[in-house]
Amino acid sequence: MTDPSAGPLKRTPLHALHKELGARLVPFAGYEMPVQYPTGILVEHAQTRNACGLFDVSHMGQVRLTAKAGHNTAKALETLVPGDIAGLQPGQQRYTQFTNDAGGILDDLMVTSTGDHLQLVVNAACKDADLAHIQAKLSGACEIEPMFSRGLLALQGPQAVTVLSRLAPSVAGLKFMTGTFVVIDGARCYVTRSGYTGCDGYEISTPADATDAIARKLLSHPEVKPIGLGARDSLRLEAGLCLYGHDIDTTTTPVEAGLLWSIGKERRAQGGFPGAAVIQKQIADGAPRKRVGLLPEGKAIAREGAEIAIGGKVVGKVTSGGFAPTLGRAIAMGHVERSQSSNGTRVELLVRGKPAPAEIVPMPFVKHAYYRG
């Protein structure tokens, strides 16, 4: 993890634009990032769910892997992650995790094959550690190119397809978790149909010096408004998506985190990634705890760290909790003992010492609207 207190805050290529737009800038993972714009988080959240929002996620780490002669990049990366990377066709994208020897999650990431390369997008707070990890383990097989100065824009919401296809018509045909190279405003960009909101939408990797012009161009469309990290968090929580360092960390395995779906069948059987023995045993026998959705009955918000109890006995802890603007009520997710984790289980969330009744529910809280063609 980057120590946020080390050195001055870094800026993304959109720093000047954020200031112009009146953003409230806060330190986040070593960067000065917009948490919200003047309209506020609730308006930004609804804007994204109902129309289209533009997010600056340039703080995230982009890394390109290219095979050295006689080596296979996908096979090499599979020694660090449990996802099926060798099976990625050009243009396909997967979600996976870097695991440690105990099966814990060092970071979660997106991997896209462009045919010639693998492109990784990792969390901002982990990117230096991830890069060191990759360099230590994969330098023999791959050229490793950190692209930390590139821009990354997320265009999310039901109108994202309408807007982006005006600038790059080919993106309309992309399916969820696929990507392609396009030219936007004269700059060569890589676009994937993906995101962190549960909405349809895109992530656009841009050359650093073209990022500001492309962002301004996207914002000139009437459907698009700028969205900060505040709404990014409330959107991902509604979508039931994990936030690294909160819902998942080095002490959480992909099985405990409910991410087994992201581990390919062959890889479950064959292993060959850090912590495989632990993860395979959990797949066979069950993990000690499980990540679940929590729906409080009342209006009190149980936030990260709140204890989850049944009849006064603590069975887990809230890992993310907040107000769900789409639902107009509080929601949360947390880790609970597996024996108490079935949907419909009644629990109490301890909010400022007071028990707030809640129920374990399936996630997502708001239906995903991905475009699967």
Binding site: Q36, G40, H45, K299, A300, G322, F323, P325
Partner: protein
């Protein structure tokens, strides 16, 4: 004439006779952002100056509201349960939190008047 005083924790108290109405300031609501939940104290609760008596939650975080002076809570703004956004829209009007009977009006002297509070906020940058 009602007299409005301010605390360094960005609460205001409007005093009429020996009763005070308490809420949070315009500056506080701007800093919090969209308010989505407010927990107000029950009538009859005796509170000491500086005690955490209410909670205001924005999308991002929960914040305590402190009693700017000592006394007894006599009424809470029940309407905030269904309309927490009133705190953003009218922090010194419909967005009030609770009313209290003051124990010692002398404590008001330790709070800021409007000009002093404006200067205090300005100093926060």
């Amino acid at each position: 004439m009602a007299d409005v005083r301010y605390s360094e924790e960005h609460e205001w108290i409007r005093v009429e006779g020996d009763t005070g109405t308490i809420g949070i300031t315009q500056y506080a609501q701007e800093q919090l952002g969209d308010v989505v939940f407010v927990e107000v104290p029950q009538a009859g609760r005796k509170v000491a100056k500086g005690e955490a008596v209410a909670v205001v939650e924005s999308v991002k975080a929960a914040s305590d509201i402190y009693a700017p002076v000592s006394g007894e809570v006599i009424e809470s703004n029940a309407a905030l349960a269904d309309a927490p956004g009133d705190v953003n829209a009218e922090p010194m009007g419909r967005g009030w939190f609770f009313k209290m009977k003051l124990a010692d009006k002398g404590e008001l002297a330790g709070l800021m008047d409007e000009a002093a509070y404006a200067a205090f906020v300005k100093g926060l940058g």
